[in-house]
């Protein structure tokens, strides 16, 4: 949505300064407070570079130190006349908002594109916003120096008295002993941190006073707020808490004044850490691999809340910065959806660098980190503890949900991952935060059970579909206008660390069992896989063999067919042979008989021819003898002819000669 008033005239740095300057008696102190209280903020707002992140907090030349030396001198004596003037306060607010914006841009300007126009707000807007929900502006807009009357504080003497019999002190509240155990455990665990922090916090005391005074003035006259207590607490947190821890619990349960909320939270969580704040500033210069995802979620976090709904507005930018810085600060967690929802309520009560420190503290000291790690192990445990508590405290509801097939992951994971901020109204969420910072994240279980208890009958009357919707969006309705009741009911739920510990052990055992089962399952699956592949291999060879078998069978059949055909042919041939033999046999005799007559004829003819031949030879002999006779006669005639011829020739000669 496009808020015209937020986008109108860009402020140059001079303009910003000019907004600050007219408020000289007031604003510098507010500003000084801020820079002091914010630690790193001052360093960034001044030309001096922030302290190197490698040095220890104690060694850092904190910008706070000079102020520490003169905590009250410049600011104390001026009760500015304008404090009750609504308009002037608003101006101071917007001035401060500008300065916050300036800080934010200060860090980011090195790594980010040019600064967009700085929003200015109209007084009416501011007051409207502050009445809706506290913004970072509300608690820093303290223009007042408080004349704190520590010594006369009757609460202190009471606290002193109760310190002598700390355990025995009886302050009427809804807290039972089991809850006390948890509180005491938490306080003890934090005592070490206290020692380290006390020095630094001392520097901020005067600022606390200012904040307190301002909060007092902001409060409606009808409010029943024990300002003395909150004053004492903020002035001497350790002392007050040590003297009477139960009282702190009581007061927190009654509700932290909304104007002081950001400060009180930080005190409870001991989150002030200027070293960490400068780390934050450093981290903003780097680039996170989660930035795309974070950017996508910015517009989707509290989209209906004015402060966060403006695309690219102050709220979204702060949200982005804290989520991004944390993703770099804790790479294992990185960015997890849900983180932005726990940062939102912080940002509505403090500036971003403090919100970052708070976030780190929530993740580490408050053990919420395990809600967002890749395995979400703490969330799983918490859900288990929740179900166990449910079975114990509201067994009917437990049974009903189980019968309906509704598991806690389906509705309660968002409670724990967002500290109820995902769907619940922020007034309730802030109150849950109050308790969370006193008791630790296990307190979430109280609230979860209280919700089920309050809606006991309604839940039992609903079935799956309606029920699951109701569990997510309807449970808080009875508490809409009575956050106090929510807190009281939560404290009526008996949750002891011992019990939770038991559940945790049970859960561990269950987890181990599950893991063993899982491992066994995995083993089985593995052997199954192997067997399957064997089966497949065998099936393959079976198939192969079958095929071969079929081939062989086919061949056999073909061969047999061939054999049969051959034997048929054989038979036929044998038959033919025998036929032929028979034919040959019978034909031989016939031929013999046929030819016998012919041979005899031939023989006879031969004989005849032989006889003829003899006769012809006889004739020939006769003819030859005739021939010889003839030849003889011829020779005799020849001789005769010769003698005649000679006689002729002689005669001729004689004739010739004659």
């Amino acid at each position: 949505m496009n808020d015209v008033n937020l986008m109108d005239e860009p402020l140059t740095s001079e303009q910003r300064a000019s907004v600050v300057v007219p408020r000289t008696p007031v604003t510098p102190s507010a500003f000084g407070f801020t820079s002091n209280f914010f630690g790193g903020g001052a360093a960034r707002s001044q030309p001096t570079p922030p302290p190197p992140s490698s040095s220890q907090p104690q060694q850092v030349p904190l910008p706070a130190t000079p102020v520490q030396a003169t905590p009250s001198t410049p600011v104390a004596p001026t009760p500015p006349p304008k404090t009750n003037d609504n308009r002037s306060r608003s101006t101071s607010i917007s001035a401060f908002a500008s300065s916050i914006g300036a800080f934010a841009r200060g860090f980011s300007s090195q790594s980010q594109p040019p600064v967009p126009p700085m929003p200015t707000r109209t007084p009416s807007q501011i007051s409207q916003r502050t009445s809706n929900a506290p913004t970072p502006s509300t608690f820093v807009a303290f223009g007042q120096q408080q004349q704190q009357q520590q010594q006369q504080d009757p609460r202190n003497s009471l606290a002193n008295r109760s310190m002598t019999s700390a355990r025995a002190s009886t302050i009427s509240n809804a807290t039972n002993d089991s809850n006390m155990d948890m509180l005491l455990a938490r306080l003890e665990a934090q005592n070490e941190l206290l020692a380290q922090e006390s020095k630094r916090r001392a520097t901020t005391e005067s600022d606390m006073d200012r904040a307190l005074n301002h909060a007092k003035e902001e409060a409606a006259p009808g409010d029943d707020v024990d300002w003395d207590y909150w004053g004492a607490l903020m002035h001497d947190y350790n002392g007050v808490v040590k003297r009477n821890p139960k009282q702190l619990a009581t007061m927190i349960q009654r509700g932290v004044p909304s104007a002081l909320r950001g400060l009180i939270w930080q005190l409870l969580a001991k989150s002030k850490d200027s070293q960490l704040e400068s780390t934050f500033a450093e981290l903003l210069k780097s680039t996170s691999s989660h930035e795309k995802q974070i950017t996508r979620d910015m517009a989707r976090t509290f989209p209906n809340h004015e402060y966060f709904s403006t695309e690219g507005g102050v709220g979204q930018e702060a949200l982005f910065n804290v989520a991004k810085a944390y993703s770099l600060y804790d790479p294992e967690v990185g960015y997890c959806q849900g983180i932005s929802f726990i940062v939102g309520p912080l940002l509505l009560n403090m500036p971003e660098e403090e919100a970052f420190c708070m976030l780190v503290r929530m993740m580490q000291t408050y053990e919420m980190r395990g809600h967002y790690t890749p395995d979400m192990e703490k969330l799983q445990l918490r859900l288990y503890q929740f179900e166990q508590l449910m079975e114990e405290t509201v067994p009917m509801v437990f049974k009903h949900l189980r019968n309906q097939g509704i598991r806690s992951t389906m509705y309660a994971s968002q409670w724990f991952m967002t500290v109820f901020a995902y769907k619940f109204p922020l007034e309730l969420v802030f109150r849950v935060y109050d308790i969370l910072f006193v008791e630790g994240a296990d307190a979430l279980l109280r609230f979860a059970i209280a919700l089920l208890k309050m809606n006991h009958d309604r839940i039992l009357s609903l079935d799956f579909e309606v029920l699951i919707e109701f569990l997510k969006h309807g449970l808080f309705e009875p508490y809409m206008n009575d956050a106090g009741l929510f807190i009281r009911d939560a404290y009526d739920v008996k949750v002891t660390p011992k019990k939770l510990q038991q559940y945790a052990q049970k859960y561990q055992a269950l987890l181990q069992k599950q893991q063993a089962e899982l491992a066994a399952e995995e083993n089985l699956r593995e052997s199954n896989r192997q067997l399957s592949s064997q089966v497949r291999a065998l099936e393959g060879s079976l198939h192969q063999l079958n095929k071969e078998h079929v081939d062989l069978a086919k061949e056999l059949i073909t061969r047999k067919m061939e054999m049969a055909q051959l034997s048929d042919r054989n038979d036929v041939l044998e038959q033919k042979v025998s036929d032929l033999t028979r034919i040959v046999d019978s034909q031989g005799k016939e031929v013999e008989e046929q030819y016998k007559g012919e041979i005899e004829d031939v023989l006879r003819k031969n004989m005849e021819i032989l006889k003829k031949n003899e006769q012809l030879e006889d004739q020939l002999a006769y003819m030859e003898s005739l021939l010889v006779e003839t030849k003889m006669k011829y020779a005799e005639s020849e001789i005769e002819r010769d003698s005649l011829s000679r006689k002729l020739s002689d005669m001729r000669k004689a004739l010739g000669a004659m």
Binding site: Q293, S309, R407, Q414, F464
Partner: protein
């Protein structure tokens, strides 16, 4: 089971709806919840909160002579919540796997979901691959401004702006997954395929109708009867919608009219 109050229509009055468990999967911020919101309530919410854990919604559809009741589990998209997903897809008969057509990596994530479902989920599960946010790329002229309204002056603007600013605008609305690529993948993997816009409603109802057509309804009807009988006291710690899906809530006030399909 449900007889008297069944408002599904005169022809369907003697018929109980077939319950189809459907799960939505896909990368964070691709529009899974918006798709369901469009289908169930015909609404669109520009900056919808990221789903943390999972959300459950139902919607009824009429398909020919049957009434189908989709029981939809809308899961959280961030990788961190991956381990919770099997609880929701284990018994699902249908899955809608959503990606963002303007974000190539979201299709890769979708593919890995497909693989996981084909390995782990019900073997007969009907899977629809759905490329959402096509309104961002559908028509250059219909670029959207910050309020999510269609920029009516876009046509003139486009001519005036031309180069520089057009490029900026392009950065936001360039399609990174071509329809053909996703469609081809869907075909080779045996998935239904759609492109949708939860914002303007384009193609949304079709996703569910086509799923309804492809699901073996008779089979579900007979098997769910068996499961219900056997699962009455079965709380083995798993999400089994059949347990929760008893007949009573079919006939109840949830019968507020089915969808148009």
């Amino acid at each position: 089971m449900s007889q008297a109050n069944d408002a599904a229509g005169p022809t369907a009055s003697n018929m109980k709806p077939v319950q189809v468990k459907l799960v939505l999967l896909g990368e964070a911020a691709v529009g899974k919840s918006s798709l369901v919101l469009r289908f169930v309530n015909d609404e669109f919410q520009l900056n919808k909160e990221p789903t943390i854990g999972a959300a459950f919604l139902t919607q009824k559809c009429r398909l020919e002579d049957k009434v189908i009741k989709f029981e939809i589990w809308d899961t959280a998209g961030q990788e961190r919540f991956h381990s919770l997903a099997p609880m929701y897809y284990r018994n699902a008969q249908a899955a809608v796997i959503v990606y963002d057509v303007t974000k190539a990596s979201s299709l890769e994530k979708a593919k890995s979901w497909v693989k996981e479902l084909q390995r782990q989920a019900n073997p007969n599960i009907v899977i629809a691959l759905t490329g959402n946010k096509v309104d961002l790329v559908a028509n250059r002229k219909n670029r959207t401004n910050n309020d999510g309204e269609v920029d009516e002056d876009g046509e003139q603007d486009a001519q005036e702006i031309d180069d520089d600013e057009e490029d900026d605008e392009d950065y936001a609305i360039t399609r990174q997954v071509p329809t053909e690529e996703a469609s081809a993948y869907a075909q080779e993997s045996g998935l239904l395929f759609f492109e949708t816009s939860a914002k303007n409603g384009q193609g949304v109802a079709e996703v569910f109708t086509e799923i309804a057509k492809k699901i073996p309804l008779e089979h579900i009807l007979s098997s769910s009867r068996g499961a219900r009988a056997g699962g009455a006291n079965g709380s083995n710690g798993r999400v089994d919608l059949q347990n929760g899906a008893n007949g009573q809530r079919l006939g109840g006030q949830q019968e507020k009219g089915g969808c148009a399909c």
